[in-house]
């Protein structure tokens, strides 16, 4: 079932301007909002069942309710627009096509939680989205929708757009906080959680762009109406970024609970050039991979996908056709995580590096028979042993590609050159290091 909540205005001309947005009913929730008690707004969002769309899927209303009520410190909102999970390109569309929905959502969150300053952390490469967002924020200030005493309500909200500079790890909520404070984006140990000690040591809400954009619809139609869409535990809709070997890649909004492959096929026209389906990544490159059979027999919602060992994540669906080389695919994935590891936790810094090195030598025909099991033995030591989940994000796909497509890895090793002792560029013997 196609549902247009987040993407309702994507096809409308000029919806990115204040005038265009308001003509479509934009900012229409503010009058109702300012008439409500802030706690009732949080209750409404809790009722909607909205979950964070950045990847973790944490209930949004509950996240807000963790912010201490009686504190002398200022509170902050960080809107995470550091979209970087490979396969994800949906926040970019919201930023470019519907930036005022983000601003309206920010006002709703700030009013509910008692926040006066929101930072939008946008990835440095998003030039066009930055320009649209910046123009929208300026328009909103000029129209009195941001700044002091918004529409005579006594509510003050300031929005600052903060540009990242090229680091995937800043999409992690505490990596983002560190980066916003002007440091390297190295995630912080939790607890304390950002709700208690976040940016500038103050209570902080960190929400994804898409999560924030869902708020105006929820405020205007009610949490109950939102919760009526989707399944028991996966409520509402989500933007799915579908890419790879499909006929029409793109961003498609859908309600949870439909068959995964049917949704992909209906949205994109199926596998490109009539090829056979080989595999599907349902939720970004850090998810486990699904075989074609698994993808055809699972529903697209948080619980059903999690039951397969994969995840909905940020809704980044990637489709592999029959010609895809799974060893090379894993090499591309592992190169990404080895490149993006921030380097502070050894299981991640070393684990991502060695997994990449080993798959790389298998690919080059220099793999040894024991390499496959060596990789599988490294993976468990990278799970749940680090400050953030980047190590898990490499180990989970690695183990799943190998387990589900093992013959392809074996073929590389069997037809490859005679195994030889491979030396690390620095001269460290790999065999000695790995064992």
């Amino acid at each position: 079932m196609t549902q247009n909540i987040i993407s309702a205005r994507f096809g409308e001309k000029n919806a990115h301007t204040l005038d265009g947005y308001q003509k479509l009913g934009g900012y229409g929730t503010l009058k109702k909002l300012f008439g409500m008690k802030p706690d009732d707004v949080i209750e409404e969002v809790k009722r909607s069942g909205l979950r964070g769309r950045g990847g973790a899927g944490f209930p949004t209303g509950m996240k807000w309710s963790f912010i201490p009520k009686n504190t002398d410190k200022p509170k902050y909102l960080c809107v995470n627009a550091d979209e970087g999970e490979p396969g994800t390109f949906k926040d970019r569309l919201i930023l470019e096509l519907d930036p005022h929905a983000i601003i309206e959502g920010i006002i709703i969150c700030c009013y509910a939680v008692g926040i006066k300053t929101a930072y939008i952390y946008i990835r440095g490469e998003y030039d066009a989205p930055f320009a649209r967002l910046d123009a929208a924020v300026k328009e909103a200030y000029k129209a009195g929708l941001l700044g002091k005493n918004i529409h005579g309500s006594g509510t003050d909200v300031d929005v600052v757009i903060h540009r990242g500079a090229g680091a995937y790890i800043c999409g992690d909520e505490t990596g983002l906080i560190e980066s916003l404070e002007g440091k390297k984006g190295q995630p912080r140990p939790k607890p304390p959680f950002p709700a208690v000690i976040g940016v500038f040591d103050c209570p902080t809400v960190v929400n994804n762009v898409e999560t924030i954009s869902a708020l105006p619809w929820i405020m205007s139609n009610g949490g109950t109406a939102y919760a009526a869409i989707g399944t028991e535990k996966s409520k509402g809709t989500m933007l799915f970024s579908i890419s790879g070997m499909v006929e029409r890649p793109g961003v498609y909004e859908g309600a949870f609970g439909v068959n995964l492959w049917k949704f992909i096929e209906d949205s994109t026209g199926g596998v490109k050039d009539g090829k056979k389906l080989k595999a599907v990544i349902p939720g970004g490159s850090s998810s486990a991979i699904l075989t074609a059979d698994e993808a055809r027999n699972v529903n697209l919602d948080y619980e059903s996908i999690a039951a397969t060992g994969a995840m909905v994540g940020s809704g980044a669906i990637m489709v592999f056709d029959e010609d895809t080389d799974m060893v090379k695919a894993l090499e591309v994935v592992l190169r990404f995580y080895a490149h993006e590891s921030c380097g502070q936790c050894p299981p991640c810094r070393e684990g991502t590096y060695w997994l990449y090195e080993i798959v790389n030598r298998i690919l080059k025909g220099k793999g040894r028979p024991e390499d496959i099991d060596l990789m599988l033995s490294i993976c468990p030591d990278m799970l749940g042993r680090t400050i953030c989940v980047l190590a898990d994000s490499a180990a989970i796909p690695a183990a799943s590609y190998i387990k589900k497509f093992r013959p392809e890895f074996e073929a590389y090793i069997n037809k490859g050159n005679p195994p030889e002792r491979m030396l690390h560029p620095g001269g460290i013997n790999l065999e000695a290091r790995a064992l």
């Binding site: 030039d127 680091a167 002007g182 990404f336 993006e340």
Partner: protein, 180 residues
Amino acid sequence: MAHVSQTLAKSGKPFAYSPENEQKFKELLPKYPTTRAVILPALWLAQEQDGYLTVEAMEYVAKRLEQPAVAVFAVVEFYTMFKTEPTGKHHIQLCRTLSCWMRGYEDMQKLIERKIGIGPGEKSADGVFSFELVECLGSCGTAPMMRMDNRYWENLTVDKLSRILDACKQGRDPASEDTQ
């Protein structure tokens, strides 16, 4: 880690914000409760002014924000978009991650190497191009793609990229070639 550390040496060129950037810098300060938080936006201003960051520019930013120079150096080293050497007039960032790989970024790389004669991490002798392979730019639905001249170039094909590069070589605006 983000990128390979480079030996930092002074350029011998003093740095100060242009009057326009000075104004922008002053507008940044009240937006943050600490001066340290201004490091990233202040570095962006400096890099936009010169095209890259000299040691003098980094020290200048540190001084203006009353931060130790090492705090600024660490930031510059961590983030891939801060450049400590001049790039070409057209800096190509070709995405090499999963969807771009599936949709043929390697063909685009070969084309760049053949047409311009430079590989990843290199700059053409005439200074017109520099080239790097980067990780996911969040444009997987229009793969393969690249970022150049502060914008995205999407749905690349050998023919389209070839026309874009020709336009750059001939000093024309490549935007007119952004068609299928």
